[in-house]
């Protein structure tokens, strides 16, 4: 127990000294393992993990989903998603902010990263909202909050990693993310409405679009909707009917999605050879960085398990004699705090090996816990003072202060807490879809 706590402290120290998280976790895991089992045992463990992790078939889903998201964003499809949301909602007060939320949700359905969703949508939605005189507070907040949906609405890179780490079905995790994701959209729309009610000047109404314009906009996105239906329908088993009989493993769904996104972007003439090469190299380098963290985390979690931290934690919690829900609330609190400091995936990799055995021993569902962890991570992305999405937005937009964005984001943060409470108290909201698979 003491060894693990020292190890955890050492990782945090090295990470704060700007050492890559992957190497900090790997190095501390290696040294810790060596103290317990000697140099030969430890270096053998490290060598085996490096070879096995990089050749894991299940992990091939990661680059393919990243690729799908990048093809969609480079293909300029975010603009069309925004357009279709705009023609239906733009004429309402606060309608452009609402359209932003809906477009973010649509983009999340193709892209598995929150930071990418926020960065992409800010380029599309921000100029429009400025044009119609929206206050920066509302416009930036709606993008920052809407962007967080990226890691919950399937496909989600974080859920893939959680699934692989805990041997939970990735298909079930994806399907379980749908209802909480849609609930997030509805509650964010409520947050926009609330902001508008308090300050009607912050989001004036835009032009009303007629039906021909609406049909044109819908025609612009049918391919994306089809792609989403193909990927998620194939995973869920909806396509296992005459005459296609298609069911996908997560890797196959990701491969189909990436190829589909590539073909859609290609058919629009928005991909040059240079862009394709750029998308592919960006995906490859992102994958390498993610795998480095994954390998480091695996080494670290081997040490933590050897040192008996999960068992010690379980024994400690049992000795306290508190209700499982109280323990869960404590864990969630730790996640919100850590989420303010760590990049989402690293936080997940560092904590899940420690908390997951405890959570399942307390009788919580692994799929439910995965979704809850992601929702908490979403909250931490917009929590002051260090919510990462806010800083991404600040980086793209530039001339708005982070204080303004954080002030605007407050109502969104509040409804996020409401959503978290709902999902914790009513687990069937998460579980009824995956349990029907």
């Amino acid at each position: 127990m003491l060894a693990s706590v020292i190890g955890l402290g050492a990782v945090l120290l090295l990470v704060f000294l700007r050492m890559p998280i992957a190497i900090a976790m790997g190095l501390v895991g290696f040294v810790g393992f060596m103290v317990e089992r000697g140099f030969r045992g430890s270096i053998s463990m490290v060598g085996r993990i490096i070879i096995d992790a990089s050749q894991d078939y299940g992990l091939s889903v990661v680059p393919l989903f990243i690729l799908m998201g990048l093809f969609v964003s480079r293909g300029g499809l975010a603009r069309e998603l925004y357009q279709v949301s705009y023609v239906f909602l733009g004429h309402l007060r606060g309608g452009l902010a609402m359209a932003t939320i809906c477009a973010c949700a649509g983009f999340s359905a193709i892209c598995g990263s929150s930071l990418a969703t926020a960065a992409t949508m800010s380029k599309v939605a921000m100029p429009q909202m400025r044009k119609f005189g929206y206050k920066d507070r509302l416009s930036t907040a709606s993008i920052a909050a809407g962007g967080t949906l990226g890691i919950l609405i399937p496909p989600s890179v974080i859920l893939v990693i959680y699934g692989l780490l805990t041997e939970t079905s990735i298909g079930k995790l994806f399907i379980a993310g749908v209802v909480p994701g849609l609930l997030g959209v509805v509650l964010y729309l409520v947050a926009v409405k609330w902001t508008i009610t308090r300050d009607p000047e912050s989001g004036p109404a835009g032009d009303r679009s007629d039906w021909p314009a609406r049909w044109t906009a819908i025609r612009g996105v049918w391919a994306i909707l089809l792609l989403f239906f193909l990927v998620i329908g194939g995973l869920y088993g909806l396509l296992d009917v005459w005459p296609v009989y298609l069911t996908f493993s997560p890797t196959e769904a990701a491969g189909m999605g990436a190829t589909g996104a590539f073909l859609i972007a290609l058919s629009r003439g928005s991909l040059t050879f240079r862009t394709i090469v750029h998308v592919l190299t960006e995906t490859a380098t992102t994958t390498a960085a993610l795998f480095a963290v994954l390998i480091g985390a695996w080494i670290f979690s081997n040490f933590v398990n050897l040192a008996g931290l999960p068992e010690a934690l379980q024994a400690f919690v049992q000795s306290l004699g508190v209700a499982p829900m109280a323990v869960m609330v404590m864990i969630l609190l730790i996640y919100v705090i850590l989420g303010c400091v760590f990049e989402s995936l690293s936080m997940l990799l560092l904590t899940v090996p420690i908390f997951f055995p405890l959570v399942t021993s307390l009788g919580f569902d692994p799929v439910w816990f995965g979704i809850i962890v992601v929702v908490v991570t979403e909250i931490s992305l917009i929590t002051p003072p260090v919510g990462l999405n806010v800083f991404v937005l600040k980086g793209v937009v530039g001339d708005v202060s982070t204080a303004t964005i954080f002030r605007g984001v407050t109502p969104f943060w509040v409804v996020d807490i409401v959503r978290l409470a709902l999902l914790v108290l009513l687990p069937w909201l998460v579980l009824f879809l995956p349990n029907s698979m």
Binding site: V15, F16, L17, R18, M19, P20, I21, A22, I23, G26, L27, F30, I43, V46, G47, I50, I51, S54, Q55, Y57, L59, S60, P63, L64, R74, G76, A78, T120, K123, V244, Y245, F248, T251, E252, A254, G255, M256, A258, T259, F262, S270, L271, T275, I276, V277, H278, L280, T281, T283, A284, T285, T287, A288, A289, A292, V341, F342, E343, S346, V386
Partner: protein
């Protein structure tokens, strides 16, 4: 309308032609990119052949595994060179310029040293696979070739980190990332 690509915007007015070493440095990343594209196409083809003709690609799973190792490890040196690893920069304001420089030099050198041992170990395991004549189940592809590849590129990543650390000492202006 396609989004504009930031990297290319900055790179547009190139004054100097990239030299031989530039191509040597980026070649592995291009290989990774090409392999990724092939993996995407192969997964697509596999699904189509399986569902439409009940005739999936026999080697798809094994090839995917090999491709993954290539994608990850061929990109690793470039990720290390450009400082694209995932880091936490929250504590940066606490360091003075001089302290930050010393910190970055030490971190790069430690990272490089820390990767040398795993590289050596993976190489040893590869040699063992070669002695045993280990091959993949379906294709009979020699396992040690993949492991050699992983070891070699881990070692290159280690050297890259060390080079970055040394560059920070002798020519700080030229450190990328």
């Amino acid at each position: 309308m396609p989004e504009r690509d930031h990297e290319f915007e900055h790179a547009a007015p190139r004054l100097r032609q990239p030299g031989f070493w530039h191509y040597v440095a980026v070649a592995p990343t291009w290989v990774a990119a090409f392999v990724l594209f092939v993996m995407m196409g192969m997964t697509f083809l596999d699904v189509i052949l399986r569902s439409a003709f009940d005739n999936p690609l026999e080697y798809a799973t094994e090839l995917t595994r090999i491709f993954m190792a290539i994608i990850v490890f061929a990109s690793l040196p470039m990720v290390s060179w450009k400082g694209q690893h995932i880091i936490v920069d929250l504590m940066d304001p606490l360091f003075s310029m001089r302290a930050a420089r010393v910190r970055d030099i030490l971190i790069d050198l430690i990272c490089g040293a820390a990767l040398l041992w795993p590289a050596k170990r993976v190489w040893d395991l590869a040699e063992r696979s070669r002695d045993f004549g280990d091959v993949t189940e379906y294709m009979g592809f020699p396992q040690h070739l993949i492991e050699w590849f992983i070891a070699a590129f881990t070692a290159i990543a280690a050297v890259t980190f060390i080079a970055r650390g040394l560059l920070r000492i002798f020519a700080p202006g030229r450190v990328p990332g």
